[in-house]
């Protein structure tokens, strides 16, 4: 590999990280909250990228885990008081992992288009469980009046009510999830997942019990989606069935594809591009009446990216490096 590119990625990532870390010191409340939402979606997108980009499993029901974690928080949180982060977060993640494990046993028996349909079906089942039974408070959902608190004894360690602290908390978790997945993907387990994506049949013939690997990947991915869902529920202060509907699953899949599958930073970039663009295009001050039809412009943008950049927005950098190589006569 070109030595220049080997160090440029960590440098770019660190620069972005420090800019994001400093933003709450200067940014307005609205933008702090917007970026918090974006970073939560970035965690969600990375969890899906583990499945889509690294294991070769295209799921259209990933919001099921995202929503489930939110509902777990909403159900266990005391009505007018803060929930305990140390107990409710593991509980939410555990519930998502368990749900992923159980559904994974069934959905992973299918592949390709059938996998897409079955994951969608499970997510829709969960949607109607929360929509039509007393568990989920119907289509209005449930309010969470106070954000969870991280306490040790009686001292509050992290006051997540503070929008800046919540922002930094989410930023840290995004970085941790990124580094965690990088590490995992570089291990034997991760190499096997990538092998499954490239050529599952051959990997099985080499002696890998691929079903178990896929199940582990599905479970881990579900738990991480749950982390995003928990944070989102904590941020917005309510859950409703929409968050686990197929629109939500579709949006996160779009972020992964937009950013470039199989590169974790691509998923983060995809989340930023998708949500910020959505925010900009629907801004009436900028686009007037056209803002109401932001989905049209968004659709066009996605089509253009899909046509020009088959590897997503992450493909932009390789476009430049390919040109640089041509100019310097390497290729």
């Amino acid at each position: 590999m070109n030595p220049k590119r080997a160090w440029s990625l960590p440098v770019v990532l660190l620069a972005c990280l420090s800019m994001l870390a400093m933003f709450p010191l200067v940014g307005e409340t609205f933008y702090i909250q917007l970026l918090t939402k974006v970073m939560i979606m970035a965690i969600f997108a990375m969890s899906l990228d583990l499945l889509v980009g690294y294991t070769g499993l295209v799921s259209l029901g990933h919001a099921a885990f995202y929503g489930l974690a939110g509902y777990v928080l909403a159900r266990v949180a005391p009505q007018y008081d803060s929930a305990n982060l140390w107990t409710t977060l593991p509980l939410a993640l555990g519930a998502c992992a368990a749900f992923a494990l159980l559904t994974g046993l069934l959905v992973l028996r299918t592949s390709g288009v059938y996998f897409i349909m079955v994951t969608l079906a499970f997510a829709q089942m969960l949607f109607f469980v929360f929509h039509d039974t007393p568990i989920g408070g119907g289509s209005d959902g449930i309010y969470i009046y106070a954000r969870p608190l991280a306490k040790i004894g009686d001292t509050t360690l992290l006051n997540l009510q503070d929008r800046r602290i919540f922002y930094w908390f989410v930023l840290c978790l995004m970085a941790v999830v990124y580094l965690f997945l990088k590490r995992v993907l570089n291990s034997n387990f991760g190499r096997a997942l990538i092998g499954i994506k490239i050529n599952e049949h051959r990997l099985r013939a080499l002696g890998f019990p691929t079903f178990r690997y896929k199940l582990a990947s599905y479970t881990l991915s579900g738990a991480l989606a749950g982390l995003a869902g928990y944070l989102a529920a904590a941020q917005f202060g309510f859950v409703n069935p929409e968050i686990l509907g197929w629109h939500s699953s579709g949006s996160v899949l779009m972020m992964v594809i937009l950013g470039g599958m199989g590169t974790l930073h691509g998923s983060i970039l995809g989340a930023f591009a998708f949500i910020l663009l959505q925010e900009a295009l629907s801004n009436q001050a900028w686009f007037g009446d056209a803002a109401a039809h932001w989905q049209l412009a968004m659709g066009l943008f996605i089509i253009i990216v899909a046509l020009l950049l088959p590897r997503g927005l992450m493909g932009v950098s390789s476009l430049f490096s390919a040109r640089a190589k041509q100019e310097s006569g390497i290729e």
């Binding site: 034997n188 387990f189 190499r191 096997a192 092998g195 490239i198 099985r204 080499l206 890998f208």
Partner: protein, 259 residues
């Protein structure tokens, strides 16, 4: 003669109305190369797929016996379990991980022997034993200096060599080689034939091959298949002398097996 490490009895595979493999029995012994020959469509690849678990037989049994694992009936067993028991195969149609480097193809093959997947925080490249097996397999197949190349950049013949290297990297006792020489140049073919000779003492090898010079150079026993059935089985001398084989397989090619 030692007991067979792998004994297939009355293997039959039907695809709808077509019987691709019909009551085939054969034995593989450590220290021997058992060649399976026959015209295209004779069912040789299907037989390999039955033994490796890529397909499960409609009828019949496949017994595998070794010191560490004991006795198992492989019929209906999944291919990954069969591979972990020690049965490795190469594919007739090159079947590798194209985006991986040549070394990584072999490394992941070697990794299959030690399923240490729970160590999710340890880098896959850091297992010296796995790396050593991978490098040794590459060298044996003549790709020792190609490790860093992407597998998709290899020539067709080199990809065939990689196919064999990956099979070796899983450290099998039984090797099922499905036309390993197809698409290789003369020099590489010679190298692989030499490699098969070196592997023979410690392995049981089933070789499917159209290159009769190669087959007769290494085989201890031959099984001749036509239309899914075994028409003759025996030593190279017996096969060469067999009228049945000459009639059914050679047809009008009086030149025999060139050898």
């Amino acid at each position: 003669m030692s007991d067979a490490i792998l004994r297939a009895e009355n293997l039959t595979k039907c695809f709808g109305g077509l019987t691709a493999v019909n009551t085939v029995s054969l034995e593989l012994h450590v220290g021997q190369v058992h060649a399976v020959i026959g015209p295209n469509g004779a069912g040789k690849s299907t037989l390999t797929n039955l033994l490796s678990g890529d397909l499960s037989p409609t009828l019949g049994t496949i017994y595998y016996v070794d010191e560490t694992h004991g006795r198992h009936n492989l019929a209906g067993m999944k291919s990954d379990r069969i591979a972990r028991l020690g049965i490795g195969r190469s594919y007739q149609k090159t079947n590798i991980f194209l985006p991986f480097s040549v070394f990584e193809n072999c490394r992941i093959a070697a990794q299959s022997r030690q399923q240490r997947a729970w160590r999710i925080f340890r880098g896959a490249a850091g297992y010296a034993d796995v790396n050593a097996v991978a490098q040794r397999s590459l060298q044996a197949a003549g790709l020792g200096d190609r490790g860093d190349m992407p597998a998709e950049a290899l020539s067709h013949g080199e990809q065939r060599q990689l196919e064999i290297a990956m099979c070796l990297a899983t450290q099998p006792r039984v090797l099922l080689l499905d036309e390993p020489l197809a698409g290789m140049g003369a020099e590489e073919s010679q190298r692989i034939i030499e490699l098969i000779r070196q592997l023979t003492p410690a392995h049981a090898i089933m070789l499917i091959e159209h290159d009769m010079d190669a087959v007769f150079a290494v085989a201890h026993r031959l099984t001749v298949m036509v239309n899914g059935e075994v028409i003759e089985s025996g030593t190279p001398t017996e096969i060469r002398a067999s009228l049945k084989v000459q009639q059914a397989y050679l047809g009008d090619a009086h030149g025999g097996f060139h050898g």
